[in-house]
């Protein structure tokens, strides 16, 4: 391959992961912090961008793959996880990231989450949770609190929110963390840890919507109220305690790792690889495959 322009650098820094596209996000959007944290985490991991596939659905936050230099796939609403699993199974060598909003992940795409978790394909799924639909201008989201008044809930929401943390913990995710751009170092650390975790990793980021979000969900408030799980003494290998803390979703903003499986299960992609290796020798030559239809 003639690669005069394209070459692999010895070491990748933050700039190597930044694309030329200008984000469409509103000034002050939490997602700026998230994409910066992703650049930093990727630079720390130092994989060349062409070995990374970054998949998203639809929503403000789902624009994020385009702002990186990775191979991106800005797909359709709610379907990032199935597409990402197909990518990872087709080429397990790739580092596969998935991102989207709370609507993408826990409303329209909610049915895919438990299966991605139980299948345990080695993906890192980052949800930018802002409790509102921003791209469509301010409707109720699956994580909006009960009673919230929005343009689609003029008299107040009549339903309880989804608890993303408890949701993935109860399906058995091996890595569950939460962060906020109000704590950039912490956010970078959990994204990096999630990527390094061998298996499905879930990271909920409280990423405020400056335009349609509630005043109490803004970064300033995060800064004042967030509690670090680590410094609070939480043992991240204690799944039951993690679930107890996760119950406080919506009332207390915990940051850090809720749960990290100390003995990670084998990943689906590894098992697939093993099966292929085991069955490969049994293959008939392709030009003889129809012979299995010769009656005896």
């Amino acid at each position: 391959m003639n690669t005069a322009a394209a070459h692999v650098a010895d070491h990748h820094n933050v700039k190597d992961y930044q694309s030329d596209l200008k984000p469409i996000w509103c000034p002050g959007c939490g997602d700026f912090g998230v994409v910066s944290a992703i650049y930093r985490a990727l630079a720390a991991i130092d994989r060349p961008p062409h070995e990374i596939a970054f998949v998203s659905g639809i929503g403000c936050s789902s624009r994020i793959p385009g702002y990186t230099t990775a191979y991106g796939f800005n797909s359709v609403h709610g379907r990032a996880l199935p597409i990402a699993q197909g990518i990872k199974l087709a080429n397990p060598e790739l580092l596969v990231l998935v991102a989207g909003g709370d609507g993408d992940g826990f409303s329209i795409g909610g049915g895919h989450v438990p299966h991605a978790v139980r299948r345990n394909v080695d993906l890192t799924y980052i949800v930018m949770d802002n409790q509102i639909y921003g791209l469509t201008k301010g409707q109720l989201s699956p994580t909006s609190p009960r009673g919230l008044h929005t343009v689609s809930s003029s008299y107040g929401s009549l339903e309880d929110p989804v608890n993303p943390l408890l949701y993935v913990l109860s399906y058995g995710a091996g890595f569950v963390a939460q962060g906020t751009p109000a704590d950039m170092n912490g956010l970078v650390a959990i994204i990096e840890a999630g990527i390094r975790f061998p298996g499905f990793a879930f990271i909920n980021v409280q990423s405020p919507c400056v335009t349609f979000g509630e005043p109490e969900a803004q970064l300033k408030v995060h800064k004042a109220t967030m509690k670090s799980l680590d410094s609070g003494g939480h043992d991240s290998t204690d799944r039951l305690h993690a679930m107890a803390l996760a119950q406080e979703y919506g009332t207390q903003l915990y940051t850090g790792v809720f749960y990290r499986d100390p003995n990670p299960r084998p990943t689906y992609n590894d098992l697939v690889h093993e099966r292929q290796a085991e069955l490969g020798p049994m293959a008939r030559p392709k030009d003889k495959i129809l012979e299995m239809f010769v009656p005896e």
Binding site: T3, A5, A53, F73, K286, I289, F293, V294
Partner: protein, 595 residues
């Protein structure tokens, strides 16, 4: 002497009537006959009534046939449940279990006097010889072998193989039951003997169904990823690949739903692998958004729809050709997806390979419209030269193209080189959102129009693929017949029947249904004054699609029936005869001497 024999058998679930049909078609294939076996079941998951139809011929067979030459009823209640699927007329030999207590002159077939009625103590013979009712189906095989000269050695060989794992007593019992059937037939000759002519041995013939053929073809074409969800009548495709694809380095994902199944396939294609999904109508409804995504992201993908009765759940176990509109039109936006349809089990192989080749070459989703009949019928297939097949590969960027890579570069053909993650310099953003040549999102009307044009333009060469059409009959015939999918096999036989009567008729079978090749239809219609578009849908969907694109002669009408209403060759031939006569009448005044 007829060169073929159509046998229909029905019984209750435990009678093993379908298993008898399987034994018979295997034996027939081994002896070099051509044959088609279709099975039909009641809606119960286990038990209930079951039936099969087997057509065996010394020559080529195109369809499961119409009226039965031989009808076997283990009990009448079950037989009658299959109604039009097992039609009996005055030439049929009816065989039934005398234990039903019904005398030969009182059989419950209203308005028909069959040529021959044989009340046979089938159950008693089974008990006497094998000690069990379960051997009833073996007695039936003996009767058929005895009366019609069918594949005696093949059946015995099959029985030995089938019962090898069971005790020797079971095998011996069945051998005695088979011999008893033959002996009974020999002792009670039919009024008119009908013995199959010997098969012209033609080397090893394959025996399989359309679903397994599609799956095997996918492997040959280079498929390395399957994502899907169980749904009747397509599930056997996933099941076959689940057994085989891993061996070729591939992956089979039974996903949580139809959307995730096709979504994973889209992802695998993005990652550079040839990918397949398969489903039936209700699943297609769910997969539609992903097909639109694959169209705009220009990702190769093959989607097989084994059609069944619809809309919604419809009739899951019966064949229909009513998903053509859906295949063509169901994505929003201005898009074209190639739609292909096989006409037989053998063709399921070629069409599936073709679908992969088109998908890869043109970077597009391709829909294969199979149907329940082709998908699930067993059929003998002449050997296919797999060695000569050259799978197409997508056009990869190389050299200078990777220096300033533009994934969606506007080329003359509309096809732009496609990279895959892992390829240095090929990094790009795939998206469902409209994008420019680099892949960056855009709302520009100018770019949108250019990209639409690119995505449609690249498929234009398909319209010149004359090899994806079959044209048979008299080139200048005034009567034309068009048909597709499994029903095309009926049309082929109807054409033969009509031409045997001296009628001038021709037949066009499109295997490429979309985009519509205007020129090929126009050429065909040039000599046509009257004709039929024969298809298994209520509206006549192909007829209407052709009319959208081509000036169809006014005398060409749809012959369209909802699924589960068999279309048979003799009925189509009768319609052709009427059309030909009508043309003669219409022309008559022109031929009169002028005053």
């Amino acid at each position: 002497m007829k060169s073929d024999l159509i046998i229909g058998m029905a019984g209750s679930g435990g009678d093993g009537i379908v298993s008898a049909g399987e034994s018979l078609i295997t034996a027939a294939a081994l002896e070099g006959y051509h044959a088609i076996l279709t099975k039909s079941f009641g809606s119960q998951i286990r038990g209930g009534e079951s039936s099969c139809r087997l057509r065996i011929s010394a020559g080529e067979v195109f369809n499961p046939g119409g009226t039965l030459d031989v009808a076997v009823a283990l009990n009448w209640e079950d037989f009658l449940k299959f109604g039009a699927e097992l039609p009996v007329d005055g030439h049929t030999v009816v065989i039934y279990d005398s234990k039903t207590g019904i005398t030969a002159d009182k059989i419950p077939l209203t308005g028909v006097t069959p040529a021959d009625v044989q009340a046979v103590p089938i159950g008693d013979l089974a008990k006497q010889t094998a000690g069990t009712d379960k051997a009833k189906n073996t007695v039936v095989l003996g009767l058929l072998a005895g009366w019609f000269g069918l594949a005696r050695d093949g059946i015995i060989a099959g029985m030995r193989k089938k019962f090898a794992k069971k005790s020797p007593e079971v095998l011996e019992g069945n051998e005695r039951a088979f011999a008893a059937g033959i002996a009974y037939a020999e002792a009670h000759p039919l009024h008119t003997a009908r013995v199959m002519p010997p098969a012209a041995h033609n080397g090893k013939r394959l025996l399989t169904d359309g679903n397994e053929m599609c799956a095997a073809a996918a492997i040959v074409a280079g498929c390395e990823f399957f994502g899907g969800y169980p749904i009747t009548p397509s599930t056997e495709i996933m099941q076959f690949l689940n057994r085989e694809l891993w061996k070729y380095g591939g992956t089979v994902l039974q996903a949580e739903d139809e959307i995730a199944g096709v979504g994973a396939a889209v992802g695998a294609s993005f990652a550079g692998k040839k990918a397949l999904t398969a489903t039936s109508g209700p699943g297609m409804s769910l997969k539609t958004e992903m097909l639109g995504l694959a169209s705009i992201a220009e990702l190769p993908l093959v989607c097989i729809n084994v059609q069944r009765g619809g809309p919604s759940t419809g009739i899951p176990t019966k064949s229909e050709q009513s998903d053509l509109f859906q295949a063509i039109f169901s994505s929003h936006g201005d898009t074209i997806r190639p739609v292909l349809a096989p006409i037989s089990v053998a063709d399921a192989f070629h069409i599936t390979v073709e679908a992969f080749n088109i998908a890869e070459r043109y970077q597009t989703p391709v829909i294969v419209l199979s149907d329940q009949e082709i998908g699930q019928r067993k059929e003998t297939v002449d050997p296919i030269d797999v060695h000569s097949i050259q799978p197409a590969e997508r056009r990869r960027p190389a050299g200078k193209e990777l220096e300033h890579y533009e994934r969606f570069r506007l080329t003359e053909s509309g096809i732009s080189p496609i990279s895959a993650p892992g390829m240095l310099g090929g990094n790009y953003l795939a998206s469902g959102i409209e994008h420019n040549e680099h892949g960056a999102p855009t709302a520009s009307g100018e770019v949108h129009a250019q990209m639409n044009d690119k995505r449609l333009r690249k498929l234009t060469p398909l319209k010149s693929r004359r090899d994806l059409f079959i044209i048979e009959g008299d080139a200048d015939a005034p009567v034309g017949l068009i048909s597709w999918g499994s029903v095309a096999g009926v049309a082929r036989e109807a054409l033969q029947l009509a031409r045997a009567e001296g009628l001038q008729v021709k037949l066009l079978i499109p295997k490429l249904l979309y985009p519509v090749s205007e020129e090929i239809y126009q050429d065909f219609f040039a000599s046509v004054l009257a004709g039929l578009v024969v298809e298994q849908s209520h509206q006549g969907q192909l007829y209407r699609v052709i009319r959208m694109h081509v000036d169809v002669p006014a005398g060409v009408k749809p012959l369209a029936r909802s699924g589960s209403n068999p279309i048979v060759a003799t009925a189509v031939a009768a319609r052709l005869r009427n059309l030909a006569f009508e043309l003669q009448r219409r022309r008559a005044p022109e031929l009169q001497p002028r005053e």
